[in-house]
Symmetry: C2
Subunit: 359 residues, 2 copies
Amino acid sequence: MERIEAQRRIRELSDNILAQVSDGENPFIKIPIRGSSNVVWNEDQGLLSLGDKQSKRYFINVAHAKKFMQTLLVAAFSNQLLDQDMHTSLREAFYSLKHTLKGSKENTFEEQSESNATFVDLEVALDILRDELHINADRRGVAAGEVVIEDRGDTIDWSKLGSGGWAIPGNVEDIEFKNVTADYMLVVEKNATFDRLHEDKFWKKHNCVLIGTQGQAARGIRRLIHQLNGKFKLPVYAFTDSDPYGWYIYSVIKIGSMNLAHVSSKLGTPQTKFLGLTISDIYKYELENAIIKAKDVDLKRAHDLLNYPWFKHKEWESEIKMMIKKKVKAEQKALAQKHLKFVSEEYLPEKIENKDFLP
Amino acid sequence: MERIEAQRRIRELSDNILAQVSDGENPFIKIPIRGSSNVVWNEDQGLLSLGDKQSKRYFINVAHAKKFMQTLLVAAFSNQLLDQDMHTSLREAFYSLKHTLKGSKENTFEEQSESNATFVDLEVALDILRDELHINADRRGVAAGEVVIEDRGDTIDWSKLGSGGWAIPGNVEDIEFKNVTADYMLVVEKNATFDRLHEDKFWKKHNCVLIGTQGQAARGIRRLIHQLNGKFKLPVYAFTDSDPYGWYIYSVIKIGSMNLAHVSSKLGTPQTKFLGLTISDIYKYELENAIIKAKDVDLKRAHDLLNYPWFKHKEWESEIKMMIKKKVKAEQKALAQKHLKFVSEEYLPEKIENKDFLP
């Protein structure tokens, strides 16, 4: 979204309030409800999303007045960032916004949790990403492969960055994709596995992009995957550990999360397929010597997954139940048991060739 | 170090053992002791280092035999990595090395802690970095600024990587510095502060390199700082939160750590100066509204710091005692209280101009 459009939406919000004031009304802001009571599984889109419930935040209301004031402060702050074409983090925004109101002992914000929640309110109220309001998420993740981008005037070829790779920033809104010749994206949970594939030039041999998430995929990474998939129809294959946490990482990339259900349509990528590691893989590839005993917390999480509609596919149910029955899990790195290049020379090419994915 | 030299050292170790066997001796390997009993503060070098204590690991000794076998397995594994010019992680090395000895129920390694410790033994015994044995550390960190490197055949200009930056790999041994025009390195603890400086093109305006550590500096980052300082005499300024954890991050970059005392001379950079944030800064720059109350664990850590010889400077003692007395701390991001660009336009330039550093 262009800056000018983000500013137009902020202006519209404030114009509405001004109009209410001139009409002698008690001014209010409409904010869709974000609690779990209003999160729905949108099967058609394959995404978690918000339902229709809305709340109104009134200025003249003892329970609302402070939040109303905070919402306008946050809107003004975002507008200023956009004016100056600057970005910042939630934490710095909190420090910037926190002050004592003149002639009182009242602080604008006491805790960062208040300003964080208010930015999300604004995100929902304006149907805009906080990234588009120039509030960056924490950065994490690395990219390498057959993509050329333009960013801050630099042309960056992700295939020419040595052993390092491109450090994915927290905010990817301003990135322009100049040349995307990759055939697909391979999203990798663990650094060491990313490094193995990177050293073996997997992305070159198989004409793809590697995205290392370093655990749970940060917002910038999810948005990047979403954009590359949406604009270039690049298939996305997720490769995680064989455990409920790895599968959860996959599901967040694919369908979004409860917490961020209001932005799933901009962060989620429903076309994502799960490549591995599956529990079946452990046995198919004879990795028994590298099996880890599942802990109670893993088993509890596995039971949780069985209840989620987006895991209600017979292939997933069979995998999750096998995990629960055998009480086992395994890491991506377990493939090193065969030999170090097994993952790049046999496991992944075979899986991709046979389209051996879970939905 | 060239691969050939690393392999020569492994060969020397095994040749010695073979010679002992042909001489009918009980073969042993000499390994310097790494425990805290053998870690010394080397004031002349400004580094933690190992003392002279050594142990001998014998083959024919019930207590040593398994570790002796493990040491040779690890040496052979490293030699193979070097032969094939491949790198791997400690975890994958463990999976590769773990197997059941033929005709027995004995495993080579039961837990990764055993193989990890053995790699460190080898590191110490051969006076070589495990990175030089092609065992990578976990990757973390990002670089941006006036440095051009060559890595895996790619020429990478750290000043042309957009909002992202160069993702620092876990192993930086093979990186060649092609053009280092920066005047100094600014090492930054927090991502958001790195991003602020990066967006403000601080590295361009002040002709420097920014290194974002994302918390405690990973091994690859420390080695990179060490190399840039050693080869190009680039001064290093550390910029962390104003709390004992931030100051500890600084001290590890500067003098090394107890755990890795055996490699301090290759990872530490004694010339590093502490730029901020100091407790005095909080008051000097009127950040009182952004102060955080120190927790008990902070105060305990602060007392610990007072006991370390490398913090025995009157400037440090005064800062640490002020922190303990006032029971306060603050984040780098607190500088946003003044205004968002205060850190890049006023705080840092003023500090650097006045050489307002702690030793």
